[in-house]
Symmetry: C2
């Protein structure tokens, strides 16, 4: 069998196996797999450099299925590579199987979860950027994309970023099979339409018949040898190619072929080709950035004032000094988030994502694929733009830190478009997430030191305004902890705040003290995980709790506290102070007052609840 025959046979095997696994599962996307089978056959037989026995080899190429629903094809490739058995392939979509409906890193050869379209390519750009500018290794990134997902704006953020950085180590293989889930795509088989667009973004484009294995091989070679810009291979293919009942037929998306045996026969029957995928060669090792000794976090003098967002930037520089793996990305607001401090100190490890938040998070996801430790920052409000990417990053078991500045109404005059008021709810709901909301610059630095080694999606919410420095530089603030900033055994009410509202709570406690009301104040800097013990004790000991948050009432700090007391009998009354209006413009102080979360409102609520408890206790 010559190469061309092998490629054709392998393509048919991948089709047969896609039919078999999806028929065994009773669901899945065989037709979306069959269109791309020849593309992937030639890729794995000739161009991919990957050691399936050593998926962590830094020299490995990366293959990312942006069209994650073509998972039957990916798993068929794994079988052909000898990475999984035929039996395991047929566990596709079974409960407990590693072969999920859409690929996830439960499989060691999958870098990131896909299945929410338009994410694989942006993340591929992140990996390719890491290859070129961080690892400085010769690996290539091959990204199989669908044509339907070209409608996603995130794809164009990715095309723009890759073109801008000249990532010639990246190839997008676009499977133009014409048909989406419900009908024809916007451009059908008009390859030129895609080439014009992608070419305009600075990519080299190649148009081919995606079932002509010779053309596929040439295109992949051309992509690999193109210098200075990424390549997109626009492959005209047929959805369901090879099986007349489903080939180029609308309505055959996302379901097994109607007659498995007939389809396999039409494809020439089962095959058991094994492909020895080429392994990476050479003794390249990832680049190691120079560091400057032990971690020395910034220190702020107690009694002074500083914004936690500034402490974020300063701590990031310190982490970058001490650790070669720390990388920062910003959404073109680095002088607001204070990423710019890092950009100045470590320009080689800073990436400007411009105003493209989906790409911002995708860089982070891509970098952590290769073991880098990314910190991505923008206004917390604008992280909402990338919420689907964050959700999927959790499915990817990604480890990354997202910093959102300018939280809440306390930003002042800019108004609601710039105010994060839903972010705590959104990030708390992400699986396995950590949600931090520091109240003080030294605490911010300490938490950055903790976050850098923690797994999962970590969100750090920072404040625009300068706030008093409460804590000494050497104090410890473990994630999952809290701090009783003020309190005695005689407290009649507990005030729980974080960030800007902690300072309002402290002012309220002072005012209350003058009236003879003793208020405990808890700094709940870690919302998830949460320090249940301290809160439960405060509930028992003070009999009433007031939570205060610069956030809408749902899903934020208040709800996190309520959750702690959910199953308690004799739980104290808990009043949630939160932003219940749509804010406009105004000074930070006017905004806090209008939203009912300033010290005066806190004190008023405390008077009411502390009073009630005393009354109840005396009756």
């Amino acid at each position: 069998m010559n190469d061309h025959e092998l490629w054709r046979e392998l393509g048919q095997q991948l089709r047969v196996d896609s039919v078999r696994s999806s028929s065994a599962a009773g669901s899945g996307h065989p037709t979306s797999s069959m269109s791309a089978a020849d593309l992937m056959a030639v890729l794995m037989a000739e161009h991919l450099r990957y050691d399936f026995d050593r998926p962590d080899d830094p020299r490995n190429d990366h293959l990312i299925f942006s069209k994650g629903h073509a998972s039957p094809l990916l798993y068929a490739m794994y079988r052909a590579a000898g990475a999984i058995s035929d039996d395991e392939m047929l566990t596709f979509r079974d409960f407990g199987s590693r072969l999920e409906g859409h690929p996830t890193p439960v499989l060691p050869w999958v870098d990131v979860a896909t299945g929410s379209l338009g994410q694989g390519l942006p993340i591929s750009v992140g990996v390719a950027y890491a290859g070129r500018y961080l690892d400085r290794l010769g690996y290539r990134v091959w990204c199989l994309t669908g044509d339907s997902e070209m409608a996603e704006g995130s794809m164009w953020e990715a095309f723009e970023a890759a073109g801008h950085h000249g990532l010639d180590n990246l190839t997008a293989i676009v499977d133009v099979n014409r048909l989406g889930q419900t009908g024809e795509t916007m451009h059908g088989w008009d390859l030129d339409a895609y080439a014009r667009r992608i070419g305009a973004f600075g990519w080299h484009t190649i148009e081919i018949d995606g079932h002509d294995v010779t053309a596929v091989d040439s295109a992949l070679s051309e992509a690999a040898s193109t210098e200075g810009r990424p390549t997109a291979i626009l492959a005209r293919t047929e959805k369901g190619h090879g099986v007349a009942a489903v080939a180029n037929v609308n309505g055959a998306h996302g379901k097994p072929v109607p007659d498995e045996e007939a389809a396999i026969a039409e494809l020439g029957g089962r095959r058991d080709l094994r492909i020895a995928v080429a392994k990476p060669t050479g003794d390249e090792r990832p680049h190691d950035f120079p560091t400057a000794g032990e971690l020395s976090l910034p220190a702020y003098e107690t009694g002074g004032k500083e914004a936690t967002r500034k402490a974020y930037g300063d701590a990031l520089v310190a982490l970058g000094n001490a650790r070669a793996d720390v990388v920062a990305i910003d959404g073109e607001v680095g002088n607001s988030t204070h990423s710019e401090e890092f950009a100045k100190a470590h320009p080689d490890r800073f990436v400007q994502a411009y105003i493209a938040e989906q790409m911002l998070v995708s860089y982070a996801v891509g970098f952590q694929v290769r073991g880098w430790r990314p910190f991505a920052a923008t206004f917390a409000a604008f992280l909402a733009r990338a919420y689907d990417f964050v959700r999927m990053a959790a499915v990817s078991r990604a480890n990354l830190i997202l910093a959102g500045s300018h939280a809440g109404v306390s930003i002042g005059e800019d108004g609601p478009s710039q105010m994060a008021l839903e972010d705590l709810a959104a990030f708390r709901a992400v699986h396995g997430s950590t949600v931090l909301y520091p109240s003080d610059p030294n605490q911010t630095a300490a938490l950055m030191g903790e976050a850098v080694d923690r797994d999962g999606i970590i969100f750090i919410r920072t404040t625009r305004e300068k706030t008093p420095v409460l804590y000494a530089p050497d104090e410890a603030f473990p994630i999952g902890g809290s701090r009783v900033v003020r309190g005695t055994d005689a407290d009649q009410v507990t005030l729980v705040g974080a960030g800007i509202t902690l300072h309002e709570a402290l002012k309220a406690a002072e005012a209350l003290a003058e009236e003879g009301i003793a208020a405990r104040v808890i700094d709940l800097y870690s919302l998830k995980p949460i320090d249940a013990d301290t809160l439960l004790a405060a509930g028992r000991e003070t009999g009433a709790i007031i939570t205060v948050e610069d956030h809408f009432p749902e899903g934020g700090l208040g709800d996190a506290v309520l959750d702690v007391f959910a199953e308690e009998r004799d739980a104290p009354p808990i009043r949630k102070l939160a932003v219940r209006i749509m804010p406009g413009s105004g000074t930070p102080a006017e905004q806090l007052a209008a939203a009912g979360i300033d010290s005066a409102h806190i004190a008023a609520a405390a008077r009411e609840l502390a009073g009630t408890r005393t009354a109840a206790a005396t009756t």
Copy 2:
């Protein structure tokens, strides 16, 4: 003064006023306003058709500042048009002023809030689509965009959609002032780079000097007379133009000019030009789609089975039959969400957004600007892609319905990428939102009948699986209500579910009844607003509550219930059953069991809590 002199003078006046208002405020974006002043001067003097006394005139043009931070320019235009006084202009960014830091519809001439970049153009596409295909009126949509925001993928979703629909009533005026917040944009003054990209998406492009008023006038005329495709005017401008201290100077973003008086003098001093903006002419009226009589919602036979997503589609058809203002949009999954029923019944009022969820929501926002009643659907998981648009839609005081299908682990084999498990948290946190999660097809239809007349952002979560029909077709389900599906005075525990988990709760209650444990079951189909009275009564009467949700534990149904009891003394223990694992593939039943939210887990929790209460009561 001839036209050209007037335009130039008006441009200077808009600059002077941008300087004055931002200096008065002590913050704001004068330099981003000054770059676009000549563009807007010529537009308002010659091309805009708008009656400031009748902002609701359907024949009015629409002017949308996608670069919302140029609000000083917009407000200066309002002053020049005589819509606001000089005094009011100087209230810019004051607490309580209509002139917020970024424009919002608190002002009658503002269609939508902007300030999160990359949103104004997609929404402009929605308005232009409405003009062409729904209203069928001759109004034009003028959208002022920045150059920095070209990095946002949502802009390219918009370019693609407008090009696809040939919206020649839309003009994007791109203010290419080269400088972003922290530095130069990716393309600087390379107008060709923008023209290549936008042109590739099917737009007509014109490149001009944005300070040459003659060129601006010609370009606007050419845009208005271009047929068959939208036009983008790429205007090379200078940020801070006219004031040497800030003109084309990096670091002058987002702050008042350093010396107000000097700047005004340099610009030639204050002016008081009044422009009589041309009003729309003619007696065109919006198109009226034919309807077919009274609303007749679909009916499903009790005892049968049907999926709530199917009921969504059926009810949508019925609403479309009865009401001419109902419009539907789908993200290329209409056979999953069941928007396709509407597409077939009312093709002229259906829009295919393809897989571009930001554009999906933008169509809805744009349509409601013109009084249409949009229902936009995709998988609930993928609405996360548009979360920033939803957040901003709330700032826009938009009225629209978002339907998210395929909620939770119960979708089965497709795996976590397709499962909405954070959506309830995300949507509950949106200001003024309504969150519905129907458990039954007749209830779904009834809620659709309620939702169609309700203000704000309404989210309807539907279920993939067919579930038993519990309710008769004529039953009322008010928003903000709940339903006690099962219960007596002797209940020992309350089970609260919605959607798929209500059915699991009912199965659990049956099993418990056989063991002699009486469980009340509440269908909490309206999560926000919530029926506090029914829940409080259940807490008092049964002494223990178990919430069950096909959603991660934070911010969803359980937290909504906790909030009801927050301030209660003697609140019952509340146990939240929710998805606490990262799911994989498996059947719906396997998924519900693995997540601990199936009937067996509910019954187990009920035995524990009901038992404890009895024990506590007897001691």
